[in-house]
Amino acid sequence: MDEKTYSENSADKPVEQPKAVLETRQIQAGSLKGEILLLKDQGYRFVTITCVDLDQESVDLIYTFDRGLEMVHLRIRQPKAESAPSVSDILFAAFLVENEIQDQFGICFDGLVLDFQNRLYLEEEVARTPFCRYNVTRNSK
């Protein structure tokens, strides 16, 4: 009962489970700002950044943009030891989410326009990059 479904009486017809794929465009950290400016020119606007913990060394940063309800995702692979480029200077709206990632994953963003210094959400006693499963050291600034 517990291993497969939640449904109350589990008489089921199994459905094939294909792996869901999110269409993203892998780019290099260096070309990030250029790509964003390009998208901005085309009328795209910023939605959010998603940070996904991958392994000991790196995380994925997925930048999501939107134009008329159609979405574009850019993905960069960010080593944990290095600082990520902040895009808050060209996209002011990104400052909040970058601070959040700083809090939760310990990634540092270079050139944040409004830097909460890892204290956006968390107090001293719990500020231990809680969202990292593989790595719990914080980059000191």
Partner: protein, 358 residues
């Protein structure tokens, strides 16, 4: 000129929620507003690692009590997309009924709080009185007033009987009538207009660029509403986003008021077209891969990102809530206004801090 720093929050009577703004004032004029968050942060995205996907529905419902149903729906839509599960048509219609009911109660709640922010208590009480009818509908059909927990993966948990459908329709007629009685107050009253018109202006370009969503965006003249995507049964229903051009607090107020009436019409349409049949699709297996989903909350566009690895627990869940997106526009609106207008403008984006911080 002397500068004073006034803390707005974290405990403030106008705002039931703890957001903290440090307002730097020069003679009651705000020159700088710095938001400080973290008073509601729970870190519940992290819970996806110890709760399985079915339990997570209950958890994401509690991201925000006011739009709980819609959070759960967004979560379910995303996972259903990942697992190729199609909910039965009746379930899709029922989802629309409950989400629009949630929107009605949320908007009424907000309109009331907004009235309260400029000290119009009688209007606040009147709107919350109307809202109680919607809460009764929620409780009668779903079993709980606020967090109604009707969504499950693949459908809904509760069904509506024909008698309940009739009862809901009659209750909604009353809600609509009572709201229309208040229309001239909300839209034409001199004191309300003088407190809201021209306050907290967000131009169309600024709103679009700063990533405003929901009524904040639509009040600035951008016709973008995730319901246009036609998820659930919305594709079968008649729907046009409500847009106002002025971009001030009054425009946002008007958008929300008109949306309330629109939602009543959507519930009516959905109840009328309610198909017969099952309310849940059965399925097996666990999700794998990545997906995003988004729906329109009362406060704006809600965005979920999922990453799963084929187990019952998600690997990463990320929730971008509408207020999170509306805070940068708010920070841009505040400088240059009077202290007396701060609550009005802060409330005009309909801040939901527990959404923002999760």
């Amino acid at each position: 000129m002397s500068k004073t720093i006034i803390p707005f929050g974290p405990q403030h009577p106008v705002l039931p929620e703890p957001i903290h703004l440090s307002l730097t004032l020069e003679d009651e004029i705000v020159v700088e507003a710095l938001p400080a968050l973290g008073y509601v942060h729970r870190g519940l995205e992290k819970l996806c690692e110890i709760r399985d996907i079915n339990q997570m529905i209950q958890v994401v419902e509690r991201v925000c009590g006011i739009c709980s149903k819609i959070h759960a729906q967004c979560f379910c839509l995303g996972l259903e997309k990942m697992m190729n599960v199609e909910p039965p048509p009746r379930a899709e219609y029922l989802r629309v009924v409950w989400s629009e009911l949630h929107r009605i109660h949320s908007h009424l709640l907000w309109l009331g709080l907004f009235a309260d922010s400029f000290g119009f208590e009688a209007l606040f009480y009147q709107l919350w009185k109307i809202r109680e009818r919607v809460m009764d509908i929620n409780e009668a059909t779903a079993g709980n007033r606020v967090i109604i927990s009707v969504n499950v993966l693949g459908g809904v948990r509760r069904d509506l009987s024909a008698e309940q459908v009739r009862w809901i329709t009659s209750q909604l007629n009353m809600v609509e009538q009572e709201l229309k009685d208040l229309q001239s107050t909300i839209l034409d009253d001199y004191t309300i207009r003088s407190r809201t018109v021209g306050k907290g202006i967000l131009t169309r370009e600024k709103a679009y660029e700063l990533g405003a969503v929901g009524p904040t965006l639509r009040g600035s003249g951008v016709a973008q509403d995730c319901r246009q995507l036609g998820s659930s049964a919305l594709k079968h229903l008649e729907f046009q986003p409500v847009v106002e051009q002025d971009g001030d607090s009054f425009a946002r107020n008007k958008v929300r008021f008109l949306e309330t009436l629109q939602s009543i019409s959507l519930v009516r349409q959905a109840l009328k077209g309610l198909p017969k049949g099952e309310i849940k699709t059965k399925f097996k297996g666990s999700p794998e891969g990545e997906a995003v989903s988004r729906v329109e909350q009362p406060r704006g566009e809600l965005f979920y990102y999922f990453k799963a690895n084929g187990t019952k627990n998600l690997e990463r869940l990320r929730i971008r809530t509408p207020t999170f997106a509306n805070i940068p526009p708010l920070a841009a609106m505040l400088p240059g206004i009077e202290l007396a207008d701060v609550p009005v403008i802060v409330l005009s984006i309909d801040p939901c801090i527990s959404c923002t911080e999760r």
